[in-house]
Symmetry: C2
Subunit: 309 residues, 2 copies
Amino acid sequence: MRESEIIELFLKHLKRHGELPLGDDAGALKIGDEWLVATNDMLVRKTDVPDIMTPEQVGFKAVTMNVSDVAAMGAEPIGFLFSLGLPEGLDEDYIEGIARGIGEALDYYKIPVLSADTNEADDLIIDGIALGKTKRLLTRSGAKPGDLVCVTGDIGRAFAGYLVWKYGLEVSESTRKALYEKFLEPIARVKEGIILSKSANSAIDISDGLSKELHLISKMSGVGIEISSGKLPIRGEVYEVAEVIGKSPVELALASGEEFELLFTVPPEKISELEVDFTVIGQVREGNGVYMGRKPLFPLGWEHFSRLD
Amino acid sequence: MRESEIIELFLKHLKRHGELPLGDDAGALKIGDEWLVATNDMLVRKTDVPDIMTPEQVGFKAVTMNVSDVAAMGAEPIGFLFSLGLPEGLDEDYIEGIARGIGEALDYYKIPVLSADTNEADDLIIDGIALGKTKRLLTRSGAKPGDLVCVTGDIGRAFAGYLVWKYGLEVSESTRKALYEKFLEPIARVKEGIILSKSANSAIDISDGLSKELHLISKMSGVGIEISSGKLPIRGEVYEVAEVIGKSPVELALASGEEFELLFTVPPEKISELEVDFTVIGQVREGNGVYMGRKPLFPLGWEHFSRLD
């Protein structure tokens, strides 16, 4: 069964939802005058962990990927929980590395661990859960015609780093370093999410690639989006990798997942009050679909680059 | 590494805790004037699922084991999240059975699903997460000398059912039914937990066996506990199995885990206001340790019965 079929099967049997329909970055419930947001994301070594990743990086990332979903809801992270599945005979140093990585991440994001559970399993599994709270919720469905479309930081390095690792591409040491930083040690945009909760109309974190996230905002908000390829914040190192593999740097950036940057839309009059490092990449229109200039932009994923040889 | 060593390793690196120290049934944080409680518990097929368990029962239990921890904190469950690890080629009917079981449990406990995640993994894994809220938190550390020690429902059937399954014991059909009901379809004491939150001083759910939970309450509250073997609520079906295997029904009941009954302590003057089905089994004293009559009661687990042959 494909993932989409499994999700459909579960939705058929799970009729009770929270105060926000399933399908956003996190679930949400009202407690008093605040929104509680909650999200979970499982990391499985076989499919999610490149062999050059240290256990510290694995532990840190298990926190980041969940905290990022909380940030995308405009919420302040308030707690983390995790369940571990550990294969028999897993090296003690490796386990301690994971513990250290989770601890470093909780220090970095300043959140407490609320609960943890360990089990024996066939492969290393870390299921992370993050909780957050906010007075005003950012969703994927709030984009309004006239909003500017913006993205934090830069995009493309996560996927470019993956390609360098996967295909052993030859790049300069400084390029490799800049790419691996984002590929192996991504950071969630927590401060930015809290600031955006005051002004933005919609937000999503980039976990499956900018083009896919643009389509989600468009579809869930019932709006059209037009972005300009020349405005995408793409660093020189991504151009370097694109050159090596003979692909377009823009395509590479659009397909790059696990960036954990925030894509958001905001009314133009509120843009000056945002004390966040971001780039305007386009605009929300009436209608539907995602366009780059006048051409439709199709959802691009890592799978579009799977045959590089 | 043993589980206790792994936990120690993690505690060394995780310095930020919630407003309640780790080690209770769930973690807790104050939001406004309410406590938010959060807990997670991973179910791994290889170690946690007997072969006679239907996928509906597996799904239901993944909810129950987490909701039970919320109930033990005196909290009302308000949301459920889960991450699935599904082995490649797992039968579609089996997956749908799990979905149905989770859905039935959420209907039964009247809680919404807030977030879900599916992944490919080597073995079937369901990591469940439950959230709850309460004005007054019940912990393992609140027992006071003079409190009465009480337990909801009856104890022993979960383990007796396990023994019947594991060793193919011959018992009557009605006995098997009564035991399997508790072994395969346990129910969390949600209504009871909410009522207890108003009067009890401490509570814990019975997941590792009554004798171990008594020791946890004693240790974490800094009190002694004296229980009376004649007062334990043990049903006839447990006596029947004890007879077949030549063991004491009291020992069997004390070692029986995954009962999901609530063990709690309450001041005697508040006992009449409890509209809950429970049995008084002993009393909290100054001092320390757990006694049955005058004899120390050692923590008993399933492992004490592992060589029945």
